[in-house]
């Protein structure tokens, strides 16, 4: 191995036996990786394999415990993040990470300050911002956010923040770009636009891409590296990697779709009528009426920004209603606070996981647990990965592992209605299959689930019925089986 990874002068990046430990967990174990100038490299692997940690170590935000890193022939091991950035390294973060109070334009302008690796310090002249505004607007236009320039970053939808994240990195005019799941949480035209944008990036930029969408990664990358458990499992051209049987079992997952058991539908558990709500002056949802029967899995499909998360947050009580009613098992909860709704049996798996600082996985799970069929043992059996992480702080887990904690945490509340906001976001294909199996088994056990998803395949595989949201209104409502039989009509109504 060492022989093939000996430094080559054309290398833009050389990672040499890098190890990173967090307390007792070895996130990276002697990882070596060479990326040629202008190469596009996809890094794939299961959740918790160390992909994001690898980016953190390369970009200087984490110091490796052992090993060496060279960027463009310069040793950068232990160099602070801002100096690595000035060598022309830009990165996007897995969970959108913006300057929330600033406008969209100001976010990208901050990115241009050190564009192309130029030095920048507090003493720089006051008139720096004029050219920066020009560059910033161009970067925004390239990701399709030009008309959002003056909106506060905090007001962007999830998909738009992903686009902004990318625009900020591009504004840095990087020689090397580290992209951490740029397509996560994007669907339809947004996904297509960002995907196109990535494919059209200039070929002289060296790009490392973490992505769970294997088709995209294969299409995009010159070479792929597979990480598993902090080690390099395989490396090669996309064809070689995909054909590798070890990769097949570890990453892609095997087994067939779970058998769907038909079961009788119970009485109505959740009845929402004429719901309207919004933020500030803007009305996000209008006249939304949906119903969920006991023991049923209902999916809400829709593109980003169509109001899926807003609907779940409004149901959970995080957002006041303008009008409408929310009945759970016959009791009107529309005017009650979130706490009362939670006690009445609603539980939400929020988008973005929301781990609590300073708690271990076990503590996080135990915190909200209520007596019922779900206990910690059963939750850990559903996600065996969490058993290994039980004593780690939940905030140190990888994105996918945090998603598992969030789902397990909600199940342990033994809710009568489990709501999930894009549970598949950021999960590897193998884990999406696990999730699919988990939701199906919940359904078979008679649990009631309301799911907001962009992943059409997952939604159709698990749901009994589907509502489609478009610009804050329910535009279609059909049995999942009917939609599955007619995908093209579904895609039309989703605007895919």
């Amino acid at each position: 191995m060492t022989a093939d990874v000996a430094a080559r002068s054309s290398d833009a990046l050389a990672v040499d036996s890098v190890t990173k430990r967090f307390g007792g967990v070895t996130a990276l174990n002697a990882v070596s990786l060479h990326v040629a100038r202008g190469e596009r490299r996809a890094i794939i692997g299961p959740n918790g394999a160390g992909k994001s940690t690898l980016f953190a170590v390369i970009s200087g935000s984490q110091r490796p415990s052992a090993g060496d890193i060279e960027i463009g022939q310069r040793r950068t091991t232990g160099m602070p993040a801002e100096q690595v950035a000035r060598l022309g390294v830009a990165r996007t973060f897995q969970m959108s990470s913006l300057f929330a109070e600033n406008s969209v334009l100001e976010n990208v302008m901050l990115g241009t300050l050190t564009a192309g690796g130029q030095a920048w310090n507090a003493a720089s002249s006051f008139d720096r911002l004029a050219p920066s505004e020009h560059d910033g607007r161009r970067a925004l236009a390239s990701v399709g956010l030009a008309d959002k320039a003056d909106v506060a970053a905090a007001q962007l939808s999830h998909g738009e923040s992903r686009q902004l994240e990318l625009a900020v990195a591009l504004a840095q005019r990087p020689a090397m770009l580290l992209l951490d799941e740029p397509l996560a949480g994007l669907a339809g035209p947004e996904r297509e636009r960002v995907g196109r944008l990535l494919l059209d990036l200039p070929r002289d930029v060296t790009i490392l891409l973490i992505e769970h969408d294997l088709d995209f990664a294969q299409n995009f990358a010159d070479r792929m590296t597979v990480l598993d458990n902090g080690e390099v499992l395989a490396e090669g051209t996309p064809q070689q990697v995909r054909a590798d049987p070890v990769v097949q079992t570890v990453y892609l997952g095997t087994g067939s779709a779970p058998v769907r058991r038909e079961h009788a539908r119970g009485e109505t558990l959740l009845a929402v009528r004429g719901l309207a709500c919004g933020y500030g002056q803007a009305l996000v949802l209008e006249d939304v009426s949906i119903g969920v029967s006991r023991g049923e899995v209902v999916a809400i499909l829709g593109r980003n920004g169509m109001g899926k998360s807003t609907l779940l947050n409004a149901l959970m009580g995080f957002l006041p209603l303008r009008s409408g009613s929310i009945e759970l098992a016959g009791t009107d909860l529309a005017k009650t606070p979130a706490l009362v709704r939670a006690r009445s049996g609603m539980a939400l798996v929020p988008q973005g996981r929301r781990m609590l600082a300073g708690l271990t996985v076990t503590e996080e799970l135990a915190l909200g647990a209520r007596p019922g069929p779900w206990n910690i043992e059963r939750a850990l059996a559903l996600f065996p990965r969490l058993r290994e992480r039980a004593r780690n702080e939940s905030q140190t887990l990888s994105g996918g592992e945090q998603q598992m904690v969030a789902i397990a945490r909600a199940l342990l509340r033994n809710p009568s209605l489990l709501m999930m906001d894009e549970p598949s976001e950021g999960l590897s294909p193998a884990l999406i299959k696990t999730l699919e199996a988990a939701i199906s088994s919940l359904r078979d056990d008679g649990e009631t689930v309301l799911l907001a998803e962009q992943n059409v395949d997952l939604a159709l595989a698990v749901a009994d019925r589907v509502y489609i949201l478009e610009r804050g209104r329910v535009v279609a409502h059909e049995p999942a089986a009917a939609l599955a039989a007619n995908r093209s009509r579904l895609e039309r109504s989703l605007g895919l």
Binding site: S61, E82, Q83, R86, F93, L98, N102, E106, L110, F126
Partner: protein, 299 residues
């Protein structure tokens, strides 16, 4: 609005003399310290509970320089600024290793260290007896002009700084430091210079305070003085330099007014009024005059 305030402030000495003019100077010098703390707590996100150290260092610098070289206000201001800024420059690398509540604790600890040193080093500071300072050769009106002038210049420079790229970066670092660093912005140095500059300005306020009272004492270094400055800034509203000025004016005038009514219930009443103001105006006094929407549009 600002022009009106400026005219009022400039007319104060002609309309006032004696005690009211004394109070006006008090407002100006506390406003100076509050503006500095707002730069730190509001814009840099570094909530310091140790500003009394800078304030007291300025005060003792004024006392010691006056004792040796005579009460020359230009000289004491220069030395007070330098001493406080140097103290900030030395302490910052240690204090900035922490953030949030830990930053608050460590700045408090450093301030207590300075207090203890001043308490023990009697030959230099007079210890708990305090340090009487010869009166500077300025009329009350001229002294007020010095206080107001320093405040106005500081406000103009800081407002300019905060609109400039450097200020925008400081604000970005407060919101999301890892992101700022990934953009190649050296977060540490922005916080470092904010800390040092705020320290120097607070030192100036300390110098003015000492000349105003003709006295420097351990009370200037006391942690209650740090709390007072933080209360003024929160009262006025974080991230608004004018808010800090308004906070200082309201606080000082409130204190004067209430102590003229009673001397037994003073702290209780001040506390009650502060609780009421904070409950009624979540974002400080300034947000009543300029509601947040208008502020956003202004930017």
């Amino acid at each position: 609005m600002l022009a009106v305030l400026g005219v009022i402030a400039a007319l104060v000495p002609f309309a006032l003399h004696g005690y009211p003019l004394y109070v006006a100077s008090e407002v100006a010098l506390y406003a100076l310290a509050a503006v500095a703390l707002d730069l730190l707590a509001g814009y840099a996100g570094l909530v310091s509970l140790g500003q009394a150290a800078f304030f007291g260092i300025g005060a003792y610098a004024a006392a010691i320089v006056s004792a040796h070289a005579g009460p020359n206000i230009a000289l004491t201001l220069a030395v007070g600024f330098a001493a406080a800024a140097v103290f900030g420059a030395v302490v910052a690398p240690l204090a900035l290793r922490s953030a949030g509540i830990f930053f608050l604790m460590i700045t408090l600890a450093f301030a207590q260290l300075v207090w203890a040193t001043a308490d023990k080093w009697r030959s230099l500071t007079g210890g708990s007896d305090g340090f009487v300072i010869a009166k500077v050769a300025l009329s009350d009106t001229a002294f007020y002009a010095v206080c107001l002038g320093l405040l106005v210049v500081t406000l103009l420079l800081l407002a300019r700084l905060l609109r400039a790229p450097a200020g925008r970066v400081l604000d970005a670092v407060r919101q999301n430091e890892p992101r700022a660093r990934a953009l190649g912005l050296a977060a540490f140095w922005y916080k470092y210079w904010a800390f040092v500059v705020a320290g120097g300005i607070t030192g100036l306020a300390g110098v003015l305070h000492a000349h105003h009272r003709n006295f420097a004492s351990l009370a200037d270094l006391s942690w209650t003085n740090s709390v007072l400055l933080l209360v003024i800034v929160l009262l006025g509203g974080l991230r608004s330099l004018w808010g800090a000025v308004a906070g200082a004016a309201v606080f000082v005038l409130l204190q004067v007014w209430i102590s003229s009514i009673t001397d037994r219930w003073e702290n209780f009443l001040i506390g009650a009024v502060l609780v009421a103001i904070v409950l009624l105006t979540r974002r400080g006094l300034w947000s009543i005059l300029f509601p947040p929407a208008a502020v956003a549009a202004e930017r």
